[in-house]
């Protein structure tokens, strides 16, 4: 899953898509993941880092990752 190159993100959770004009706000977790995605980190690495750093089970993260993917697709923020 790759985030579109032109998507702008800020450290405080603001996300802007210049192609559509849409803007979004994200929580801290979303901001951290988007930042990692912008750095071209592969999904597996991002998830691994989250499991090491945050208090969450692999099962919970798996479920939330599914939902995260849907949100990004709905928001038109990832490459097809």
């Amino acid at each position: 899953m790759k985030i579109k190159k032109n998507i702008a993100t800020s450290e405080n959770g603001f996300i802007f898509n210049p192609a559509t004009g849409d803007s979004f706000s994200g929580n801290a977790m979303a901001t951290a993941i988007l930042s990692a995605m912008k750095n071209n980190e592969p999904d597996e690495q991002i998830r691994k880092n989250i499991l090491e750093k945050y208090d969450v089970t692999a099962e919970q993260l798996n479920r939330d990752w599914e939902d995260w993917t849907i949100q990004l697709r709905e928001a038109n923020l990832i490459e097809c």
């Binding site: 996300i15 849409d22 803007s23 979004f24 706000s25 994200g26 929580n27 801290a28 977790m29 979303a30 993941i33 989250i50 750093k53 945050y54 208090d55 969450v56 919970q60 939330d64 939902d67 995260w68 849907i70 949100q71 990004l72 709905e74 928001a75």
Partner: protein, 454 residues
């Protein structure tokens, strides 16, 4: 070093809509305890979901409402509307506060007797009183509120066989300027049906007409409607005295006073729009005081308030079962209480708050109950923080009608606890079990499991 707190990743589209001065304030101040009892502990001990009632709040409500009327009018009597919540523990709180019982069926009538209410302090309303119920009520000298002519004729024929003269009132319906106008209960005022019933009663000589009753609607938001109703009832009472020489001892203005819940479709929240009990009391008592009764002939004013006295004393605690994303991108959360348990979710946009701390991020979502039915929607749209399975929720203002109108459907009905004035928790109804539900069932011999599974 410990791990960081995790929250489900979430983004929300920012919309540059025109500003809205009513803007939806986040409903979510978390409520982790009810009167000092942690939600988690209550659910762990009594199971989820769970209704919680506050005795302190019930008593506070009834005392405040009574004060609103008694400071304006010399003779006021409250009668607890059993159908609103007929848990014996609840009824007895109201009876301890001096309320009579207002019942609408033989089942409720017998509950009132079982709660030790003297027969002469039971008001028997309802359109479908059975003959055995009428006989019992007559024997106990209860106040019979006649709903229709057939009931009147039934009573008159009963009187042929007994020596007692039952105390009765007629139920009156009328135009109070509201829509829809309730005309299904009682006799109509405008077309003289009510007056005709009164004359029939008095000319029969077999019934003692002591009161007049009306119940103009439910969740009434118009104070003026009560003013009109009170004036029309007074006109009828004064006419009874002057034309039939039958003074009316009491006027029963029924119930229908609203709680501060927010009705579905309402633009503003109930707390901002619902008139206070004081407003209703002022309208009703002013109309009676100005009607033309002499000071010593003022009739007793009976009120049958229900939901306004108990709605905000009830909470429903529940748990999140699952989250999912709908086809249109909306978030959906499934909780363990549905419309079968929270019947009033058909009418209200209930205030629902998380029972644990959360971050500032919230998401608009649909809140579904656990039923395998499309209608099982608790809130079509509500802003709640990120909820995870196992998190708890508190639904507010559920004390009225839920614990009587709930349905045994797909799941069994949950337990109910009452927190008393000393903050002690009492279980006042156990959760239903399979054995309880199946107890009245009878299975024909040829359909027993051993014959079926051969």
């Amino acid at each position: 070093m410990g791990k960081l707190k995790y929250e489900r990743p979430f983004i929300r589209k920012l919309n540059a809509n025109p500003m809205n001065k009513f803007g939806a304030a986040p409903e979510s101040q978390y409520v982790s305890s009810i009167e000092e009892h942690p939600v988690k502990e209550l659910l762990a001990q009594y199971g989820s979901p769970l209704f919680v009632l506050s005795e302190k709040q019930i008593r506070k409500n009834v005392r405040a409402a009574l004060r609103s009327f008694k400071t304006r009018y010399p003779a006021v009597q409250f009668a607890w509307s059993y159908k609103t919540n007929y848990l014996n523990a609840v009824c007895n709180i109201f009876h301890q506060e001096g309320s009579w019982a207002e019942v609408v069926s033989g089942f409720e009538y017998r509950k009132a007797l079982g709660n030790g209410v003297p027969g002469n302090k039971i008001i028997f309303n309802g359109p479908a009183k059975q003959i055995e119920d009428l006989l019992l009520a007559i024997e106990n000298d209860s106040l019979l509120h006649i709903d229709h002519l057939d009931e009147l004729y039934t009573l008159l024929s009963i009187c042929e066989t007994i020596s007692k003269k039952p105390r009765v009132a007629i139920r009156v319906n009328m135009d109070t300027g509201i829509y829809p106008s309730w005309d299904r209960f009682g006799f109509n005022y405008e077309n003289e049906e009510a007056w005709s019933a009164i004359t029939k009663i008095i000319s029969s000589g077999k019934l003692n007409l002591v009161g007049l009753h009306c119940h103009i609607g439910t969740f009434m938001l118009s104070v003026n409607a009560y003013s009109i109703a009170a004036r029309k009832m007074c006109t009828l009472a004064l006419r009874c005295k002057s034309q039939l020489n039958n003074p009316i001892e009491y006027l029963d203005l029924g119930g229908g006073l609203p709680s501060t819940n927010t009705l579905k479709g309402a633009y503003l929240p109930g707390v901002d729009t619902v008139p206070s009990v004081d407003d209703f009391a002022e309208a009703i008592t002013t109309a009676i005081l100005e009607a033309g009764f002499s000071q010593d002939e003022l009739p007793l004013l009976i009120m049958e308030c229900g939901r306004v006295l108990i709605d905000d004393a009830g909470y429903l605690l529940g748990s999140v079962i699952a989250n999912k994303r709908l086809g249109d991108g909306r978030r959906a959360t499934i909780v363990d209480f549905g419309v079968n348990t929270l019947f009033t979710s058909f009418w209200y946009n209930h205030q629902i708050t998380p029972a644990q701390e959360f971050s500032q991020h919230s998401e608009n979502m649909v809140l579904y109950g656990p039923l395998c039915m499309n209608i099982d929607v608790i809130r079509e749209s509500i802003n709640l923080p990120m909820l995870n399975p196992g998190d708890n929720l508190v639904v507010h203002k559920v004390g009225a009608y839920n614990m009587t109108q709930w349905m045994q459907f797909i799941t069994s009905r949950p337990g109910i606890v009452l927190i008393d004035e000393n903050s002690r928790v009492h279980q006042v109804r156990k959760p239903e079990t399979l054995e309880y539900m199946e107890a009245p069932e009878l299975v024909p011999e040829h359909l027993t499991p051993d014959k079926t599974n051969k």
